[in-house]
Symmetry: C2
């Protein structure tokens, strides 16, 4: 029913709840003149964070419940029909919001969004897509954990969705798409992966072939496609490694007074490195494949990171990502059908 | 036929061939009084690298061919019956060497070793195991790429083999073993992984449950078990990320004269960090599950790294790793059978 740009913010979920979500949403609101924000949650919690009266273009929609971070998706779906997460998604479903953002429980958000919004025609399952820093800026990667078991069909659909995200969110005209494998030769990997490889080679997208794990960072491709098991493990491994390297550096830089001194000299460099690798700058994973824009913020996101997730929601809503996916997927299916069939 | 410790070194394979393998083998030889080294390769290539006459406890076994780094495993197995790789493995099979080391083509080495040596009773497939640096020193990880598609049986066998390696190579009495998954709850992951999880919980090893990717580095477990697809992708991703972070640091440290100056001050720290993360220090992946000790060196290993691989071969030969695996696997199978069955 809305003509404008309206983002529904689940203002209660995540590790920090309203005290991060509300100021983050207001930051983006004041910087974006045509934006409306709907804060979803308990009025008595949200109101005190908003000053003496509601800012312009900001409203509250009451939702009495919150989905716990460890709650089972099934239970959240069945029992928490008035959760802030569910109500925010309902607003998208009814066309009252262009997109929604939540820092809540990933599994519950995925299950609820799928149930409420349904899938884009041609896409079987939602995937979680985000970016990781890389030599050329960053690489779009999916699926990061929605689907542990994937067939060739799903991998092809992920490639289509990754291509749309790279174009719409990152401005790449012909994003180069690689399929993650244990080698670059045609004979490598599982049967499902080889089948996806054959189909992608014939699809009207810029598929460049198999890539190994190190290519996530090398700048050789813009999008890396994989199943949700591998993608999730790779992402968590990289997070773990980055944290480990950071810890080793801290330890070594504080081992002696002289080294502490050298740390002061090196601080501008270390800060610059940190900024370039900062996962917060990349906060806002898209749950693509759903018939509506749903953005997942890290549960532990701070104000700046949550604001990033809201910006991702705005961009996807403006570009009409679900429609773009539907259109590209239809072209991929058409290209794979023999003429006259 | 040999009572002593004899290591067969494929002295021709790898990116650098004999000019790395020979001096590396001699380094270890001179430091290890009871060791004999058999260098396998072309006499005319090896002899000039050995000085005027053969060192004590060192001999040459002639092998006229070399398996190419890109050769298909099948082709190497069928056509290169006199390759340095094959002849080195033959020495192990005939009991003339206690173990062999090769920097050659991983797929060919795996296929040839499996064909020549066969498997340990109770183990269906060989796995590639190595270590990655971690908070507590390092974590043993397998499979790193031998088996893209794994069933529950294989994962259980990998856990047994990882446990033996952690004990025999790294001196851990009750190594803590984790199974890589996309979450730590029992309901997470694929059916095969959940089945392996149930069986491992009943096995006479120190299985601690599911772990996510970040736990590879956290010190929470000593061994991380996964299928060869995920393991290979995770390993390559981590290598790529480490290289990327190194590159970003180099870039930031050279951005201005002042920053270059700070790099001089920070050099001792950066070198210490590099040493702690150095993959060369961890060179020497074991191909476990084979009825004989086969160690794979990185193709691009330098002299020090290749020497490390030789030392891994020595330790596994001394400890009798294949026999240890057979014994522990038999105990795991016995524990899983209902009494009286």
């Amino acid at each position: 029913m809305n003509a404008g740009l309206v983002i529904a913010v689940d203002a209660m979920s995540g590790d920090h709840g309203a005290k991060v979500a509300v100021p983050a949403a207001l930051d983006v609101l004041s910087a974006t003149p045509d934006l409306e924000i709907v804060l979803v949650g308990r009025d008595e919690v949200l109101r005190p964070l908003l000053g003496s009266r509601l800012p312009a273009r900001c409203s509250i929609v009451e939702a009495s419940e919150v989905v716990g971070m460890d709650e089972r998706p099934k239970d959240a779906l069945r029992r928490k029909k008035n959760s802030s997460m569910r109500v925010a998604i309902n607003l998208v479903e009814r066309g009252e919001a262009s997109a929604c953002v939540s820092a809540g429980n990933t599994g519950a958000l995925l299950a609820t969004a799928r149930f409420v919004l349904g899938m884009i025609p041609g896409i079987d399952r939602p995937a979680i897509v985000s970016v990781v820093p890389a030599v050329h800026g960053h690489t779009v990667m999916l699926d990061l954990g929605a689907n542990p078991d994937c067939k060739a069909d799903h991998l092809v659909q992920f490639a289509v969705m990754g291509s749309v995200i790279a174009t719409d969110l990152h401005g790449l005209e012909r994003p180069r798409i690689g399929l993650l494998n244990v080698g670059e030769e045609d004979i490598k990997g599982t049967e499902e992966i080889r089948e996806a490889h054959r189909r992608l080679a014939a699809a009207p997208i810029n598929y460049t072939g198999f890539v190994e794990g190190d290519k996530i960072f090398s700048g050789d491709v813009d999008v890396v496609v994989t199943d949700g098991f591998t993608g999730n493990v790779a992402l968590k491994s990289m997070e773990g490694l980055a944290r480990f390297i950071g810890g080793v550096m801290r330890e070594e830089f504080t081992r002696s007074p002289l080294r502490k001194l050298s740390a002061i000299g090196a601080r501008p460099v270390l800060n610059a490195v940190k900024v370039r690798l900062d996962p917060g700058a990349y906060n806002g994973a898209s749950m693509v494949g759903l018939a509506g824009v749903v953005i997942k913020s890290h549960g532990g996101a701070n104000r700046a990171a949550f604001a990033n997730a809201v910006r991702v929601a705005i961009t996807e809503a403006r570009k009409g990502v679900p429609g773009q996916i539907e259109e590209l997927m239809a072209r991929v299916v058409a290209a794979s059908e023999p003429p006259g069939a």
